[in-house]
Symmetry: C2
Subunit: 228 residues, 2 copies
C-alpha cells in the first residue's frame, strides 16, 4: 500500500493546529495564548512560528481547510440540483453549517480587513487566490442560468461579498442556532433569483446596462475580477 507518510514537521504542524483550534474554541482567540498552545502541543513556545507566521495564521489555516471541506460538500450536494435558488442556498448554507461551532474565533479572520498590505487582509493581495476559489463555487452555481456576460462576471464576486456579509452577520447573530442569519440569507437569495429572472426583460436590461459596465470597469481596474 502506498500509505502517505507524514514527515516529522507535518505532524508537528498538524498538532499545533489541532491544539490551537481546541484552545480557541474553549477560551476564545485572545484568551488562548501562544504559550498555552505550544505547551498543549508539547513543543517550545517558538515552534509555532516555524509553521505559522502569526497567531492569526492558525485561524487562517483552519479557514483554508474549511474551504476544502466546503468545496467537497458543495460538489456533493449540488449534483443534480438544477434550480438556481436551491443551488445558491446550498453554497451559502453549507458554509455556515461548517462554521457553526467556531463563531467564537472566526472574528480573527477579519482583524486585518482595514489593512490592505497585510498578508491576511480579507481583501488584500495575499488572499486573492482564496477569494477567487471561493467565488468560483458561485460561478459554478450560476453556470447554467442565462444572463448577460457582464452579470456572469459580476455575480460571483457579488455573491462572494454577500456570503462574506453573511458570515459576519453570523458571528454577531445571537438568535438561537443563528436562525436570523439563515432567514436573512434566504431572503436575500430569494430577491437575487427573482431579480435575475427579471433581467431577461429588455427594459430592465437596458436600465442596468450602464451600471454593470461601470462596475465591471472599476472592479477590474482595481484587480478584483481577474479570478480564474
Amino acid at each position: 500500500m502506498n500509505a502517505i507518510k507524514k514527515s516529522v514537521g507535518e505532524k508537528t504542524r498538524a498538532l499545533i493546529l489541532e491544539k490551537g483550534l481546541e484552545m480557541f474554541r474553549e477560551a476564545g482567540f485572545e484568551a488562548a495564548t501562544i504559550r498555552d498552545i505550544a505547551k498543549s502541543a508539547k513543543v517550545a513556545t517558538g515552534a509555532t512560528y516555524y509553521y505559522f507566521p502569526s497567531k492569526e495564521a492558525i485561524v487562517a489555516a483552519y479557514y483554508d481547510h474549511v474551504q476544502v471541506t466546503h468545496e467537497a460538500k458543495v460538489r456533493e450536494l449540488i449534483l443534480g440540483e438544477t434550480d438556481l435558488r436551491e443551488r445558491l442556498g446550498i453554497v451559502i448554507h453549507s458554509k455556515l453549517d461548517i462554521l457553526k461551532d467556531d463563531r467564537k474565533f472566526l472574528g480573527a479572520l477579519f482583524r486585518y480587513t482595514g489593512e490592505p498590505d497585510h498578508p491576511l487582509s480579507v481583501f488584500g493581495k495575499g488572499t486573492k487566490s482564496q477569494r477567487a476559489h471561493s467565488a468560483g463555487l458561485f460561478r459554478e452555481a450560476i453556470a447554467d442560468v442565462e444572463i448577460t456576460d457582464e452579470l456572469r462576471q459580476l455575480l460571483p464576486w457579488a455573491l462572494w461579498m454577500m456570503h462574506l456579509g453573511a458570515i459576519l452577520f453570523f458571528i454577531y447573530d445571537e438568535s438561537a442556532e443563528q436562525r436570523r442569519t439563515r432567514a436573512l440569507v434566504n431572503g436575500v437569495l430569494d430577491l437575487v433569483t427573482q431579480f435575475l429572472k427579471l433581467t431577461s426583460a429588455p427594459v430592465i436590461r437596458t436600465f442596468l446596462q450602464p451600471f454593470q459596465g461601470k462596475m465591471l470597469g472599476i472592479l477590474k481596474e482595481a484587480g478584483w475580477l481577474l479570478e480564474s
Copy 2:
C-alpha cells in the same frame, strides 16, 4: 468675555490626540508606539491610558471628530440642494474629502469588525449611537423624497452600509486621488436614485414588498434599526 477654559486634563488629552494622529500619519498605526506618542506629547507612557482606553481608541476619538466635522459640512452644503442624487453625493463625497489624508491609519477602525463584544467593533453595541448618528445624515438626505415607509426605514441603514464599504474601498484604492472610489460611489448612487424613481411604479413595489418586510423584521430583531 466668557472664554472657554480647558481644564488641565482636556489640554493633555488634546495634546496626546494631536501628537498621536501626527505620528500615525507619519509612520502608520502599527509603527507609531504608545511610548513614542507619549514622549512626543511630553507625558509619561501610562498617561495615554488615563484618556484613551486603548491605542485604537485614539483613532476612534479622531473619527468622532470626523463625524462632527462631517455633519457640519453636510448641513452647509446640502442647504437648498433639492436633487436627491446631489444630496447623497454630498453626504458621501464630503466624508471622503475629510478622510482623504488619513487613509494610512483609518484601517485601525476596522480592527474589531469581527468581534461583536469589543467596544470599538464597527457593528457592535458600543458604537451603536455613532452608527445611528451617521445614518441620520442619510435619513435627512432622503427626507423629501417620496418612498414607502419600509424604504424610509431601510434606506438610511443601507446607505450607511454603502458608505462604510466606500470607506473600505477608499483605504484600498491605489488610484491617483482615489478616483476609482469616487467613480464607484457615483455609479452606485446613480443606480440607487434611478432605482428609487422606479419604485413609484406599482409593479416594482409589489415585487419588492415581501423582501422589504422580511429585511425590516430581521434587522429590527437584530437591533439594527432602532436609530432615533
